[in-house]
Amino acid sequence: MPPIRDKYTIHSKAVVCQDVELKGDITIGSGTIVHPKATIFAIAGPIVIGSNNIIEEGAIIVNRQARKEVMRIGDDNLFEIGCRVESPSVGNFNTVSTRARVHHTVRLASFCVVGAGCLVVPTEDEVLDDYTVIYGPAAERRKWTGRGKVQEADLRRKHAEYLREMLPKFNRLRRGDGT
């Protein structure tokens, strides 16, 4: 295997803390927030992260599929404390809660929620449809009706706005290579 070349492209409006572990070819879009102690590893192929995502402390995002595809993460996703995401594509507005784990066989569409501590590790490739909610210790599934979607979006937007303002006051930030 060839050695991994590090190449970070970080949008000037993204907030990426200094204390973040990055490896490989990573693109971070505008307004995305990466808290300290998060980990993003582009081992098998590049990772492209869209805009206004929030990646909290201890979250691990890894691209490690065999096909060397680009791992694409859409916009407005929330990855909470200590979650692990390996899925090759993530849509928009998903929530991966604290300590949840999403395996590389799963692709997330949009508006999905993976509950706290849930394991999503099917052996066959699978796509989670829009509005899927995974919850409980046995990782049960059901559909979200979409109620409160506007409020949720509003909360997410305000959260990101707040963090963009507050994080730089207390943490040192990281810049991309190309600035």
Partner: protein
Amino acid sequence: MEAPIYYSKSEFIETDTGNKVSRRATIAGPQNIILGGKTVISTGAIIRGDLRRTGPGHAVVISLGRYCLVGEGCVMRPPYKTYRGNFNYYPMKIGDHVHIGANSVVEAATIGNHVEIGKNCVIGKFTIIKDCAKIADNTVIPPNTVIPALSHFAGSPGRYVEDMPESTMEVVEARTKGYYRRFMPFEGR
């Protein structure tokens, strides 16, 4: 007395009030964190004092009481919500003699005195834990839960199991004090 728990002297910083804070713990916004004294913060813990309430003046984000233990790899961060259309983080208050096990994630609003939290727990946002409660290992407490005094919670989602004995307060107090006494620097030979 039980066997001492040794740590290497270079790893921990001791304050005048007897707090012992690991150099390998991540503490953001330390000016917004209050430690009551004789509190131990272990290796790899993450404490977020930077997520403060907006507004003028000095804001306390996380306050811990006396004889507390924040276990290895714990994450303590204040809870957030929107109130009347404004997004804010809210302060987190933790009482005395509170032990939090390794790798737990705590986003509670209030934790009382003499509370024991096990390993690998997830304590949801705005949880209120009253005095002398106990949370078993691997418990997931959903957001906005109120855990009454002297109750034992376990499972995912965390449910009431049984009442704690009336002596819990004394037992926990003795244990937390004992832990602090046993937690001593390793004197190299």
